[in-house]
């Protein structure tokens, strides 16, 4: 699992979902969070956060800059090419999963999710991260 001291950037246009992700992450044991309401704002947070972000959990469907666009932007920057990036979405259609994998997503969570499911996905994401 990721170091529980990791700083997590949570990106979602819905305040409720950001709160839900934080609630579950706290239950897992994380305590350091920063939030953004879309991919553009997420990018600003990622590039300016002090201390630095260690993990991103982002919604897929957001105005201005979607989760997928944000993911692509993150992966294009060599500084964040290996940044663990987990996408959260209300629908998992085959085409979407393929697109996300091609864009370099680390893991993928479908809403609704339980804390146990989120924990398992983060565990899997951390293993991929360590392998890199």
């Amino acid at each position: 699992m990721f170091d529980l001291k990791s700083r997590i950037l949570i990106v979602d246009d819905m305040l409720t979902m950001r709160k839900l992700v934080i609630k579950s992450c706290k239950e897992i044991g994380f305590s350091d969070f920063t939030e953004a309401a879309d991919g553009n704002l997420g990018w600003d947070k990622l590039t300016t956060a002090e201390p630095a972000i260690n993990l991103i959990i982002s919604d897929w469907n957001m105005p201005n800059c979607s989760g997928l666009e944000f993911l692509k932007k993150v992966r294009r920057d060599p500084r964040y090419a290996k940044m663990p990036f987990v996408l959260l979405t209300a629908e998992a259609e085959a085409g979407q999963v393929v697109e996300a994998v091609q864009a370099g997503v680390t893991s993928y969570i479908v809403k609704p999710f339980t804390t146990a499911a989120l924990s398992a996905k983060l565990e899997a994401a951390s293993l991929k991260f360590i392998k890199k």
Binding site: L15, T16, N61, P63, A90, E91
Partner: protein, 285 residues
């Protein structure tokens, strides 16, 4: 050469939109529109397949175009809309102008020019399939994401307003090749406050804008679950949609008079809440 390529068939005029519907494209469309209005067709179909951006000038010209062709009973449809543009259109309240629909076949089905594709279930079969999917989606969403145990009651056709006052309601459109409709999630204030508290671990004393966001998120999750099931397993083509949330005393969600409203009642320890489904199937063979 025009930015807009048109292809007129016997009943339809298909207009291929350029990659950016900016001020320049809008100006060109304005010049083209008077000629399009005179065409003898059942509908103009705007194909957004290659389009990535839609500016306000183009929206204004389309509103005028819609008004002009409407006078001749010719319809307008928008097909192959990228997700972001569909969201932009819905958020700006221009659905009725653009009339989004998945693809050309859906237009033909709607106009009675082609048979419905996919499983083409009968109205009754489709309704039952639909209701089962939404009952399941509500149960999964509320029990998993809101940590609130619930039981589903027997669905019934709505004959009169609910006897319990509704304090918060979310509505989302259903748009598909095969049907159109709405899903409404109706909570008495007390029940919603209990669900909110279970979901976020924060007590809620009254309905606030922040809690309205929670209702929208729940409806998003229910819709996402149902859409996934309907599209992946039942052969439907439900499109992405954006929920609208209303809060107030004794809310009543008015629905189309053309179709019946099916009420799915659910019971939680804090009381009941309701999901209303309206459903109108398009012409099929």
């Amino acid at each position: 050469m025009s930015l807009f390529k048109t292809d007129k068939t016997e009943h339809l005029n298909i207009i291929q939109c350029p990659s950016a519907l900016d001020a320049g494209a809008a100006s060109e469309f304005a010049k083209l529109a008077p000629e399009l209005v005179t065409l003898s067709v059942k509908a103009h179909v705007l194909d957004f397949h290659h389009c990535q951006a839609l500016g306000p000038e183009m929206s204004r010209h389309l509103i005028k175009f819609k008004r002009d062709v409407g006078a001749t009973d010719v319809q307008i449809f928008s097909i192959n809309l990228p997700r972001a543009l569909l969201k932009q259109i819905k958020e700006s309240g221009l659905d009725s102008v653009f009339n989004p629909i998945p693809d050309l076949n859906a237009v033909k089905v709607k106009l009675g020019l082609a048979a419905a594709t996919g499983p083409a279930p009968s109205q009754a079969t489709a309704s039952v399939e639909f209701i089962k999917v939404f009952v399941s989606a509500v149960q999964i969403a509320i029990s998993t994401q809101a940590s609130t145990p619930l039981t589903a009651g027997k669905p019934y056709t709505k004959k009169e307003p609910h006897k319990i006052d509704i304090g918060i309601a979310g509505v989302i459109s259903l748009v598909s090749t095969q049907f159109a409709g709405t899903i409404s999630l109706l909570f008495p204030a007390k029940v919603f406050m209990d669900i909110y508290t279970n979901m976020l671990g924060e007590p809620l004393e009254s309905i606030t804008p922040e809690s309205e966001d929670a209702a929208a998120e729940l409806l998003n999750i229910i819709f996402g679950l149902a859409k996934m099931k309907l599209n992946n397993e039942k052969g439907f083509t439900v499109q992405k949609a954006i929920p609208t949330v209303l809060a107030g005393d004794k809310l009543h969600v008015a629905t189309s008079k053309s179709g019946s409203v099916v009420v799915l009642p659910f019971e939680t320890k804090a009381g009941p809440f309701f999901v209303e489904v309206t459903f109108e199937q398009f012409n099929s063979a």
